[in-house]
């Protein structure tokens, strides 16, 4: 134990470790809040599709030579994709899940192709590895990225708190909410935009292929033991932050890839909660 504390103290003297911990807490907090909404609305898979679109946009930023200002490209493209997916009319020729699949694999393939053909960094495998699996992305943020992530996370979390009742209404019964006079279209637009923002932020933490885990796992874990919207939301937020912190610290100490370590922590907690729920049901 003494060795771990000593090592952690040494690591914490490096800015990139402090940045990773701060950013990890904020990103995991806001992703778990909106994860509740997405899971309840049966939109879990949208996160996966959007994260691939974000990867494609990041590849585009890389090709354009503006990787340091990549948010300029990634945010608008991902937001546009989210709004398109979540607000398109239902009675179109292409079904929603097919469209998500098309956008997802299309963006992924186009992104990887661009990174290879217009290679600007000389380390394509490293760039792809870190952006897809988040092997080191959270450890390589500069202070500007950190500020960006923290501010966007705070805006998203505050919006969730301010709009809590409206989000609750839209999540559980959209038709009833609409009949009650709530502007559900505007509410869904806000959810779509913030979902896109969270996907982009989540990419920094666990990589684009694993972003869905950040959204889905804490919620599914909480649902094993809690039933109410409020308790599931609070439990998801707490679990998500703890798993992210543990994942980041473990990966730094043990030398494992950050993104997959965080997801492994979330899987472990899910199994514990699942077993606890089984025991409670039998008792």
């Amino acid at each position: 134990m003494g060795w771990i504390i000593e090592q952690l103290a040494k690591y914490l003297s490096f800015p990139f470790v402090r940045y990773a911990l701060i950013t990890g807490v904020f990103i995991s907090l806001c992703s778990s809040l909106y994860g509740v909404v997405l899971v309840m609305k049966r939109y879990s898979f949208i996160g996966d599709g959007l994260s691939h679109v974000a990867f494609g946009a990041m590849a585009l930023a890389s090709v354009l030579g503006i990787l340091e200002q990549k948010m300029i490209v990634i945010l608008p493209v991902t937001i546009a994709a989210a709004v398109f997916l979540l607000r398109r009319p239902q009675n179109t020729k292409m079904a929603g899940d097919a469209l998500i699949a098309v956008m997802s694999v299309g963006a992924l393939a186009a992104g990887y192709l661009m990174m290879n053909v217009f290679n600007t960094s000389g380390n394509v495998s490293g760039d792809v590895c870190t952006s897809l699996f988040g092997s080191t992305s959270i450890l390589t943020l500069n202070s500007f990225d950190v500020t960006m992530c923290v501010v966007l996370s705070i805006i998203a979390s505050l919006l969730f708190v301010v709009l809590y009742n409206k989000i609750f209404a839209v999540t559980f019964d959209e038709n009833y909410a609409k009949a009650s006079g709530l502007n559900t279209d505007a509410c869904n637009l806000i959810i779509a935009v913030i979902t896109a923002v969270i996907i982009v932020l989540g990419m920094n933490l666990v990589g684009s292929l694993l972003t869905s885990a950040l959204i889905v796992f804490p919620v599914l874990t909480s649902l094993q033991l809690f039933q109410s919207f409020r308790s599931v939301t609070v439990c998801s937020a707490v679990l998500s932050v703890i798993c992210s912190l543990c994942g980041i610290l473990f990966s730094i100490l043990a030398g494992t890839p950050v993104g997959s370590t965080i997801v492994a922590a979330e899987i472990a907690v899910f199994i514990i909660f699942y077993v606890a729920a089984l025991i409670r049901r039998r008792a």
């Binding site: 800015p15 948010m71 080191t136 500069n142 966007l152 919006l159 509410c187 923002v197 990966s251 030398g255």
Partner: protein, 159 residues
């Protein structure tokens, strides 16, 4: 609360954030001055770090080399070398692998003193510890990292 007003406010906040992205250079300058104000240790010792952490720190050096310039540094890695095809000069490096060992970053080192290759160098692939002064140069878009006045020794496990 009016939803339209919230949407407008959110859009404005997002626009401000993305617009702020367009000025990273000024921000970076302030960051480096902030970094300079922080009390930094005499030597940046990365030998106690795990592969993930060392790889990340070396990536940070690649993206912001000016923040590390002229700092004393000590690092563990794998010995490697190559020959510059234009000059015929041998370049020796300390290679750092990431956790999955699929990606690698290298730091060149220039030893102080007279050493001949291969007599005074280990076999390629052997673990080494290198201590030297950090510097960098650019080759087109690529940033090459260097440790000058380097002292190379057999791998020292730390922590």
């Amino acid at each position: 609360m009016n939803l339209k007003r919230i949407i407008k406010a959110s859009a404005a906040a997002l626009l401000c954030m993305t617009a702020a992205c367009a000025k990273p250079v000024e921000k970076k300058e302030s960051v480096s001055s902030e970094a300079a104000e922080e009390k930094e240790p005499d030597i940046l010792d990365l030998t106690f770090m795990s592969s993930t952490a060392v790889y990340s720190e070396v990536l940070n050096m690649m993206t912001s080399p000016e923040q590390y310039r002229f700092r004393k540094m000590k690092i563990n890695g794998i010995f490697g070398y190559r020959t510059n095809e234009e000059t015929g000069k041998m370049i020796f490096g300390c290679v750092i692998l990431d956790a999955t060992q699929c990606c690698e970053q290298g730091i060149e080192f220039i030893r102080s003193g007279d050493y001949t290759f291969p007599d005074d160098y280990p076999e390629p692939g052997e673990m080494i510890t290198v201590e030297g002064t950090f510097d960098y140069y650019t080759d087109g878009n690529l940033v090459n990292l260097q440790l000058k006045d380097a002292v190379m020794s057999p791998y020292e496990e730390n922590g």
